[in-house]
């Protein structure tokens, strides 16, 4: 019985729990919307920057902002 628990139930439990957790935290894995400056004004982009921290987020060489006015910078740790 103990062997059965270790060999089948424990890994099955771990796999189901991990898969469940992945679906439960699905939203945290989605990219955020950000804005970068372009020649014609601004462009909306998908970014991974969580806007938490003190450092400016960049998309390539372009700084990323929270607003279309490009005044509120998106931040990361």
């Amino acid at each position: 019985m103990k062997k059965h628990l270790l060999k089948i139930i424990l890994p099955a439990f771990a796999i189901v729990m991990a898969a469940g957790l992945a679906f439960a935290t699905e939203e945290s894995n989605l990219p955020y919307v950000g804005y970068i400056a372009t020649e014609s004004g601004y462009a909306e982009i998908q970014t991974d920057c969580p806007n938490v921290g003190q450092n400016q987020c960049y998309e390539g060489l372009d700084p990323v902002f929270n607003d279309i006015g490009l005044t509120d910078p998106k931040l990361r740790n």
Binding site: L6, K7, L10, P11, A14, I15, M17, A18, A19, L21, A22, F23, T25, E26, S28, N29, L30, P31, Q46, T47, D48, C49, P50, V52, G53, C57, Y58, G60, L61, R76, N77
Partner: protein, 150 residues
Amino acid sequence: MSYKGIYSKLVTLFSLLLTILFVYTAVSKLNHLDTFHLRLERMPYISSYASLISLGVPFLELVIAGLLWFSKYRTIALYASFILLGLFTTYIIIVLKYSDSIPCSCGGVISALGWKDHILLNITFMVLALLGILWSKKQYKIQATQKSVQ
């Protein structure tokens, strides 16, 4: 409790933790495969391999998570875990040190961590995999000694 029992239980515990990590990250990636592919395309040095990596890494993670539960393949799976985590950690360190473009964190709730915390998490799991390898070998040696005594 005998040493053999302790090592065996610890290796099982480490396998459990590695399984949770790999299944969690693999399902997170596969759940949003397009986003993962897009993120890889933005990463420095590896963007040209984005298609291969976006499918290969989650597949490899699931295979390793499965192999960790077959005693015959457990040591190989622990080595594979150590190498996979090592490659990823090395890549992050190189990017943070030498690349101008530092990509943002990604991968489920782990994305809440900064890159430095991400490296610490990876190193912790690498240590678990390494201890698992060492203690699996120790376990085999104890079993071999017991067999030769009998």
